[in-house]
Point group: C2
Chain length 118, copies 2
Amino acid sequence: MFDPLSLKYDAAGLIPAIAQDAGTGEVLMMAWMNADAVARTLETGRVTYWSRSRQAFWVKGESSGHVQALVEMRVDCDRDCLLVRVDQTGPACHTNRRSCFYRAVRDGAEVEIMAPMG
Amino acid sequence: MFDPLSLKYDAAGLIPAIAQDAGTGEVLMMAWMNADAVARTLETGRVTYWSRSRQAFWVKGESSGHVQALVEMRVDCDRDCLLVRVDQTGPACHTNRRSCFYRAVRDGAEVEIMAPMG
């Protein structure tokens, strides 16, 4: 059985988790999980982070409805980073954009490459 | 002009950088950059991380030849995470696999889903 405690967490007990759209491959966001959030994500199938600002579990989309259904969790070679492949409802970003990575550096300048969803 | 110092770094002066294959969308790895590594990556077009273990710049592929040519750098909404879209030569992972995320949790067990490259 997979044990969340087999992962490597930082001094704050957290591991970075990259959320990727399982269908399109788009990288949606990066947030943090502790061991309990990893376990809850696997148990419930709803991606659950640990909010560093609120110091509380953050069931993605619980208030906004923009949930992430877990398709598959992957573990990296060093066991200190997770990739969660998800089925994302609506925007992943709190700015209402599909992805949090909506700014690009092009020709030395930062430009917005993605509009908020309608 | 884009200023690397406009990003938010952690207490160690680092920001996580997710490397994604610009062609296929595959997430290859996650590593860390400091402000100088961000600047070097943009200046040289060769993705350059900061090695926490060696406390030194880590020009990806410098010894292995498995370089990452920068296609585009993206910044997330909170300015505390980067996405580098790259043209990856060979495997990104030190285990010789294309991606570091070669293990998946399936039916509660951890399984390898990717073989080392030939």
